[in-house]
Amino acid sequence: MKPVINVVACLLAALLCLVAPARADKITVAAASDLKYAMDEIADGFRKAHPADQVEVVYGSSGKFFAQIRNGAPYDLFFSADVAYPRELAQLGHAAAPVRSYALGRIALWSAVMDATRMTLDSLTDPAITRIAIANPRHAPYGKRAEEALRAAGLWDKVAHKLVNGESVSHATHFVQTGNAQVGMIALSLALGPDLASKGGYWLIPDTLHQPLEQGYVITRRAGNSALAKRFADYVEGPQARAVMRRYGFILPGEDAAR
């Protein structure tokens, strides 16, 4: 009997260690996938400035984060690609502070196998392009805007059959990176990222063709008392972070498009 009790005790102890509550001064940030490179840099900057604080960033589709937070997922901040989601969360009582816009996103054409800098939307009708990757317009903000742009340009009927849908805008980017789609209509911030910028150029899709990609964030209800969450939100709205965002093509609230 004794050896069995010892084994059980050890297992319980191990289990407890794994589920031990996180120490204070740690936050988890849910960020839309278009923020991959930008938010990585911003978080790094924050960590350097506040070495005692722990910040973890998780990337995914805005719609999924919305559903998860609604159902109690342990995120402290939510940076959405579409401000509508945080607004909805606030309406449902999941916000600790008012929703704030943090950027305007842009979509761009990007290709790893062709020269996107010379393209326009019309180029998509080229028979050499058989697959165009976009995020699923049904639920991804960047995908929705891509569809709007195509429709506004009168190209939807001509190229719809070439579209392949990614689960999120980063998934759509995978398709283009691996060459399975010749071209993608993806987030500008991703096209400017180090991985992609070195492999291909981009063409900015005119923002007159689609609804603005107003990106907003919110501090969730569960982080209402977290001083760290507030610190991080302030940092994101501060000058260093804004510089990073600008570098990744985001248009900041109050500023005009530089291009």
Binding site: G63, K64, H139, G166, T178, N180
Partner: protein, 226 residues
């Protein structure tokens, strides 16, 4: 109409995919299972491990690597292009190939177990009764392993119907081509159309349950015939 047109399309696509994959795996998996059941080669364990790999690989990982392999720079992609077949991602047949790989152990393992259970004796008997090895396989091994075949086909079919991660990675969610029911449900959820999601998921659940129930109520070999 219980389901929308696009939902019906997704469901039909799912059934077609599962059916074709099951048939292909029946042809491909049976010889593999037979070999694994009877060989004494020293590298049998390695083959069995490779066959079982899809069981432990996360589907999205498998999907990602298939996306690379089937892409224009990947070995499979270059092969299909050389044959003039284009690229496999985002096509129905690309899903078929991926599903065949992903569901392989679900066909091979039950068959292997069934073949092993037969043992050597019935085949020796068949040989003494003038049956060649191929003849003995079809007239003795297969009938004796019939419950195993049923199990394997049901598992493979059900597993393919439920496949999500791989399809999502390489499918591109194209309606009528790669937007299978599982992906359609996911899209409904992502778009916050929960009612549509519930309906389609419900239909899928009921269908799967009925199929499994039918199989378990009628099991060849457990009934005494004649």
């Amino acid at each position: 109409m219980l389901l929308t047109d696009s939902d019906q399309q997704a469901l039909w696509l799912t059934l077609r995919l599962a059916g074709i994959v099951t048939l292909i795996l029946l042809v491909v998996g049976t010889p593999i299972a037979w070999w694994l059941a009877r060989t004494r080669a020293w590298w049998k364990g390695a083959v069995a491990a490779v066959v079982a790999m899809p069981l432990v690989l996360p589907p999205s990982v498998l999907g990602f690597y298939l996306l690379l392999a089937m892409g224009p720079q990947g070995p499979l992609g270059q092969f299909t292009q050389a044959l003039g077949l284009g690229l496999l991602p985002f096509t129905f047949w690309g899903l078929v190939i991926a599903s065949v790989i992903y569901s392989l152990p679900f066909m091979v393992q039950p068959l292997q177990t069934a073949f092993q259970a037969i043992g050597e004796r019935p085949l020796e008997v068949a040989a003494t009764l003038r049956a060649s090895r191929l003849d003995a396989f079809f007239t003795v091994a297969v009938p004796m392993a019939l419950p195993g075949f049923v199990s394997a086909c049901v598992l493979t079919f059900a597993h393919t119907v439920g496949e999500f991660g791989v399809v999502l990675m390489i499918g591109g969610s194209i309606p009528g081509e790669t937007r299978v029911a599982a992906v359609q449900i996911y899209d409904h959820v992502e778009a916050l159309d929960y009612l549509d999601a519930h309906r389609l998921a419900g239909v899928l659940l009921v269908f799967s349950f009925l199929v499994l129930l039918a199989i378990h109520v009628w099991r060849p070999g457990t009934r005494k015939i004649g």
